[in-house]
Symmetry: C2
Subunit: 231 residues, 2 copies
């Protein structure tokens, strides 16, 4: 048996709580971060709050082992006086959309082997993809995630805008988006690159630019140059 306390009721906290409720051998409790005057004890205390609240919230916790869930924060941003760790789930959590925890990569960090094992046991109750990731690696990973998730979504947003402006349903692009995302599980992104930029098809590039507004043009030009330079 392991007891887990989740502090925070945002997307990560809520999804993690629901998932742990369904596991065996884990007793889970959740409290709001606004209500930490009386914190129950637990084997693992998970602070799932916004990055800039981690220091303040953790400073008030006296439980034995306190971890945060942030990709962007180092382990030593925790301000508790007891043991520290990180339980970072590399996935995008959306309200009202169920998370497939069995596929989530768990990126774990702890100060002692014993505590790492505790986090690993906890992660194993939810999924199988478990990685030891130190604070330096985690920051890099979080940055990589911004490119493949946030910036990619912005590419979808621009594609959607172009469709709307031309009375084309955006869902016509769904199969292409799916195939593009699947392709890099069998090919490196470098080998998967196609399109006018990599072909140096200057006629098509010129025509595309003529269809875009100034801000879209700036993005199109910069990414085309970057693809062509192999950067």
């Amino acid at each position: 048996m392991m007891s887990v306390l989740i502090i925070g009721s945002g997307n990560v906290g809520m999804h993690l709580y629901s998932a742990l409720l369904e596991t065996k051998n884990i007793i889970v409790t959740q409290i709001s971060s606004r209500n930490i005057s009386k914190v129950p004890n637990a084997d693992v205390t998970i602070i799932a709050v916004s990055d800039n609240a981690i220091a303040e919230v953790s400073a008030k916790i006296t439980n034995s082992f306190v971890v945060h869930t942030s990709g962007a924060c180092a382990i030593n941003e925790l301000q508790n006086n007891s043991s520290k760790g990180v339980f970072y789930m590399l996935q995008t959590f959306t309200k009202d959309k169920k998370v497939a925890f069995s596929e989530v990569p768990f990126c774990l960090e702890a100060e002692t082997t014993e505590n790492y094992k505790l986090l690993k046991k906890l992660a194993n109750s939810l999924g199988e993809n478990i990685y030891p990731i130190n604070s330096k690696q985690r920051k890099a990973l979080h940055l990589a995630a911004v490119f493949v998730n946030n910036f990619t979504n912005h590419m979808y947003k621009i594609g959607n805008d172009i469709c709307e402006n031309n009375q084309i349903p955006f869902n016509i692009l769904h199969p292409l988006i799916k195939e593009t995302s699947e392709k890099i599980t069998t090919l490196t992104p470098r080998k998967a690159q196609t399109g006018p930029a990599i072909r140096k098809d200057s006629n098509t590039i010129k025509e595309h630019l003529s269809l875009l507004n100034n801000k879209e043009q700036e993005i199109y030009k910069l990414l085309t140059k970057s693809i062509q330079n192999g950067n």
Copy 2:
């Protein structure tokens, strides 16, 4: 019964030929574009060659109905004297990777209702997602595809580079990439946007920039600004 001639042996031509071979009621022949002195007759002649060869190849064809497969070219770039059309399959075709034609969107254009019906019948032998798309819309669609496919793949490439530089396996990002691509089938890209840019989390943005080289910084800054401006 319908007879189809495919001219061209690139990825599109090869995949289309293989798929049509497996259908009923379609008799398909394929020839190389280098060998068009003797072109057999067919109900539909599909020119699947690079964009800049469409005019030259089509000018030499005397068959009754000639179509190209290009997203970037207008219908009138065909130079045959007979009927013209477009059979554009909005998908990325990779050598040695089987295409799920049942999911491919077929974007069709023809000069007459009769010829449109012929193309629709042909598309129906392979799949179900069929759209009438005129030349102006198709150019916009092709441009949108550059964003959601080519530029997205470049985001994966940069994510991959960051992982490699920090001894992190890129496949740790696969579940996130998958979820990001699936999310926009149920949410608009605007609503699906997350991350430091949309949160205006300037501390994280600053730290991310410190981890990137100059060229990556330029991309990070421009896309962050674009997300924040809602462009």
